[in-house]
Symmetry: C2
């Protein structure tokens, strides 16, 4: 019997989470004998629980779909909702009742570690309750911190945004003759992948950013100030990149040197401003002009500076997920495996969602070089293929035309 | 007798100051009977005084020039150097000796208000000393605050960056169901032009940013918090844009409200922007999730999100300046005059540099609407033509290929 499929987006947005959604819908539409409607959850599993869904295959035109592919953030909306550990919780039968009422045969959840936790729990409940619905996770995170997969959709675009923007800031910072330090704070609470991408901004040996600090190394303020002193002897324009999550040997976050930390619903600390803090230390020590720049949410939502390679891979991951579901695969996340050889190519694979959920892949410590203040060439070789290609947007009033739901963000 | 020409860049960089340099060089090269070499000052008039020049017509290839056109920041380097008021100062004969030693017939200075002051003083000295050298100012500033001209090269790109980036942040901010406020701090100490461009991010009536505050209106914290309260009744995702230079009726900058608020553990004062400060006020009052984002230097140096219209106009301004100089014009700045009619077009004009230097054009107060918290449709009509067109960069290792001097920013 023909079944419908259901897709949701969860966790922080990226520039390509909608490209994965596009892939799921396109592949869903291309199996008319096996798949009926493609439904979307509005605001993830949380919104679905409240009955918010959309019939994507009916409501989106061909042209809409092409716009969706290059639209950043999450078209369906997102949530940060953790399903209970207890499989006896009433939410599970409630969810499966809703799935069955919509004749859902497969659920696709696009997200990061926390979202894979949702896919894991739903598939475990399905196995327990002998429900004939498959659950596939489609990876998404700019942090690139999911295990098993070579990299995650969203990372290439964040890396390209960081490399490109840091390059522009380096040019901007180099125009004056007076010594100056620019500190760029980049995303990454536990994993330094996004910050490491700043190394891709360099164009010759000795080029800026001269110093790069990741959370995988303990941060020492005196060593940092010595590094700055050395850098100021080489360049009038010193550009430094730091992860938001840098911390000292005791585990204390550098951003906490100044403020009380706040905690989000998942118990993650909400960080603000290690760049600002370092700015005041450098100014206090050296008396030079110092500026700190926090690249902030644009690292994850800039579509104009996203990577075409990333967009294409994200879309293909969505398509592959649907094909896997049609073969009866469940409780798996799509992975990228890098082919051996000089030319970059990937093949898609599958791993148990339980291998991924609530786990983190950190930046390889042996790729951190110098006095814990630089990135080695292994990373460049790894990351360069991921930032290739400039997407071409349709412009409307001078800006990229995006697909959005007007009601998103508005109160009913 | 064939003369050489000399060009310098001064003040803060923009995405298109090199497009104007490109225009000066290209036009210089196209008059081989009248113009010899095109020289550049390295680090503006300050570097020129120290003997730092470059023979641009000899050193840059055709391909270099095409890269220069789309390279942000200042290829020649910049300075913030004010010539003395006193025309008897020894710096003037020194400068003119250097001009004559290089057989310079015309000097082009690309910059904003302060740079026009330099052009003004040099041309006044030339008139006084009966020196046969002409001085032309080529306007440049993202702030759009130069009088006489309809707009300034650099503004269109900053406006496109702001509109595009705010649009992406609005999409990013709208994915969750929980009420949240995002405060975006934009450049503009005295003039609100850059911040006003955030209004171009709206796609339908009632769309974000719901509130926009410029420095041309006095900022009142209670009125602001009332505005937020009202906005939170309409939208779960409230996006607010503020100029860095907003101030209260007493003239006190909002960013200065915090001077005693944030001190790190070592007693260093942490200077925060007005966005960060408003974030804490809104969180304190409403207890909702609040994020502040400062777009920072990318507003002026993002080439990937620059405006093709702006690039073309900046380049044409450089060309027009050279043609004016060949006609003997001096002590003038290039202006843009908007043609009447439904379709946007400009013609170039000239105004005395003394009409421009040290003066500022503020945002028209009657274009500020609502309760001093919104921007009217006159601005959209004015600004939309300036943000049209996406430049196409040559990519190298996934990033735009730029033209840079390796030694820029490095110590000798």
């Amino acid at each position: 019997m023909k079944k419908n499929i259901l897709v949701g987006q969860s966790g922080g947005p990226t520039a390509v989470i909608n490209a994965s959604l596009y892939g799921v819908i396109q592949e869903g539409l291309s199996h008319p004998d096996e798949i009926g409607a493609v439904y979307g959850m509005i605001n993830g599993i949380e919104g679905f629980l409240s009955g918010h869904t959309i019939n994507l295959s009916a409501e989106l035109s061909k042209e809409d779909l092409e716009l969706l592919r290059l639209t950043p953030a999450a078209y369906l909306g997102s949530c940060r909702y953790k399903l209970p550990e207890n499989m006896d919780a009433s939410v599970y039968p409630l969810l499966f009742e809703k799935f069955k009422a919509m004749n859902i045969g497969a659920v696709f959840y696009i997200g990061g570690n926390d979202s894979m936790d949702t896919a894991d729990k739903l598939s475990r409940y399905a196995a327990m309750a002998k429900e004939d619905i498959v659950f596939i996770g489609v990876p998404k995170t700019i942090d690139n911190d999911l295990p098993v997969t070579d990299h995650t959709p969203g990372y290439g675009s964040a890396a390209r945004y960081v490399a490109s923007t840091v390059r522009e800031i380096v040019l901007d910072a180099s125009v004056y003759q007076q010594p100056a330090v620019t500190i760029i704070e980049l995303m990454g609470r536990h994993a330094g992948w996004v910050t490491a991408a700043s190394a891709l901004a360099r164009k010759f040996p000795g080029d800026n950013p001269l110093l790069i600090y990741l959370p995988e190394s303990d941060f020492d303020m005196e060593a940092f100030l010595n590094d700055i002193e050395g850098a100021l002897k080489k360049s009038t324009a010193v550009v430094v990149c730091v992860s938001e999550g840098i911390h000292d040997a005791s585990g204390r976050l550098v951003c906490e040197y100044s403020t009380e930390a706040q905690v989000d619903t998942f118990g993650h600390k909400m960080l603000t401003g290690c760049g600002k803090l370092l700015e005041s230390y450098v100014r206090g020590r050296f008396g030079v002009k110092v500026r700190s720049v926090e690249l902030n949410v644009n690292q994850r939502c800039s579509s104009l500076i996203s990577s075409l390679t990333d967009i294409n891979e994200a879309s293909e991951a969505g398509r592959f997920a649907v094909r896997a579901a049609l073969e009866g695969v469940t409780a798996k996340m799509i992975t990228f495996e890098r082919e051996e050889g000089a030319d970059y190519s990937i093949r898609f694979g599958l791993t148990d969602v339980s291998n991924v959920c609530n786990k983190e892949k950190i930046f390889p410590p042996h790729w951190i070089t110098g006095n814990h203040n630089d990135i080695g060439p292994e990373f460049t070789a790894y990351a360069l293929p991921l930032i290739q290609g400039q997407p071409q947007h349709i412009l409307e009033d001078g800006l990229p035309r995006y697909l959005y739901r007007k009601e998103q963000g508005l109160l009913p």
